[in-house]
């Protein structure tokens, strides 16, 4: 079809400014996976229900499957790939998921990691119920959510403890 609309968008992805020529019909999910090859961003339900495609846009979690890529112009996007340290190390949240066996098939994990990352960014203490509520947009179909909540809670408490030691 000759009337396909293309547009160049410029945005920050995992700390780097990127310009990509996109078909305006693309979801952000499509651009992140297929143009930028960020395969941590999973294609799940594609209707904004499962949360597998969660990425942070300006620090807040969004389902990238129901976000038009053109809207990402000028925005700051963070995916799991962006959590990697300079030496290739994984983040404390990812390690906590491993330690707590919060991963089974792994498909929901990147989305859960990103939502957890945004929850824990404010350094506040949340109850398990509050954590459950804040993670309610991410579904895991393998197992229960127990280990996932354990992982997020552990890292939350660890960070709070570290901050308190630092302050004292």
């Amino acid at each position: 079809m000759s009337d396909i609309q293309y547009k160049e968008i410029t945005f920050t992805v995992n700390g780097k400014e990127r310009s990509v020529m996109i078909d305006v019909r693309s979801s952000l999910l499509e651009v992140l996976r297929n143009k930028l090859h960020l395969h941590s961003v999973k294609k799940g339900c594609e209707v904004g229900e499962c949360g597998a495609c969660t990425v942070l846009i300006d620090g807040e979690p969004f389902d990238s499957c129901i976000y038009l890529a053109v809207w990402a112009e000028g925005k700051d996007i963070l995916t799991v790939e962006g959590l990697m340290g300079a030496d290739g190390s994984i983040s404390d949240i990812q390690q906590a998921f491993i330690d707590e066996a919060a991963v089974q098939c792994g498909f929901c994990t990147p989305g859960l990691i990103m939502t957890s990352y945004s929850i824990l960014a404010d350094g506040k203490r949340y109850t398990r119920d509050e954590l459950r509520q804040k993670l309610a947009g991410n579904m895991c179909r393998c197992t229960g959510y127990h280990n996932i909540i354990n992982a997020v809670e552990n890292i939350m408490l660890k960070r709070i403890e570290e901050a308190e030691v630092k302050d004292s």
């Binding site: 019909r25 904004g48 038009l68 947009g137």
Partner: protein, 295 residues
Amino acid sequence: MKYDIKKLYEAGSLDEAISLLEEHPEAKIIAGGSDILISVRAGELAGCTLVSIYGLDDLRGVTLETDGTIRIGSLTSFSNIARNEIINKYIPYLGEAAGSVGGPQVRNIGTIGGNTCNGVTSADTASTLLALDAILEVKGKDGYRSIPIKDWYIKSKLVDLKPTEVQTSILIPKESYEGYFGNYYKYSMRHAMDIATCGCSVNVKLSADKKTVEDVRIAYGVAGPVPLRATTAEAAVKGRAVDLDMLELFSEKVKDDINPRTSWRASKEFRTHLMTELARRCLTESIRRSGGIFQ
């Protein structure tokens, strides 16, 4: 992976959005897209032309105007409403309603304007806005128009918004919320990522001694094809003492106003039962929040 969209126009300003809608009368407005994009994916809106207003940051945010009116920009997301200071101070029950939509990600993208323009009865914020006598402000080529929310809903999925108009703000006048306390109850099968089987929003204004119901407003989602007020029940208890008889009468009278249907989510009978019970519970809670004393 790509949406079946024929053409996408991105408005850079409100006036540009209006002229794009004038030029392309077949186009639909897309705000956050959590309804539109799902309908495109499902095929209902496949091949549509869209005018995106998502980039119009002027339509975001909550402000308190000098006359006490709370102005909510139509593109304000549910999360921003749920955590907004003005909302939480004056109309926390609207924050409760916004916080009950979908899940965190959906609340980040979904807008309160979209929640009222889609004309859907189960829209979580719609019943509270109806119970607050909100005013919807829209702009077309001839300028602004204000529509009381009671006149906004025409029928299921149809509201009083002309194809070339854009909803810009939702206004809550001071007399609508001052002295009122309320709450919203969403009944759904799951506590997250679900659509309301029934939503009930009540707010009440008690007399100075907290013993008499001066005014009460109740609105439902899913009690009919569009959000509706139970005006018979409201009228029946206005001026009545705060007591259990009043509560009983209120929940009983609700039946005169509601007209729920049977759907795969719930039967008419179950919804009717829910609605009478929720009227009682929501009014009790609203009275408790008002510091009311049961006689």
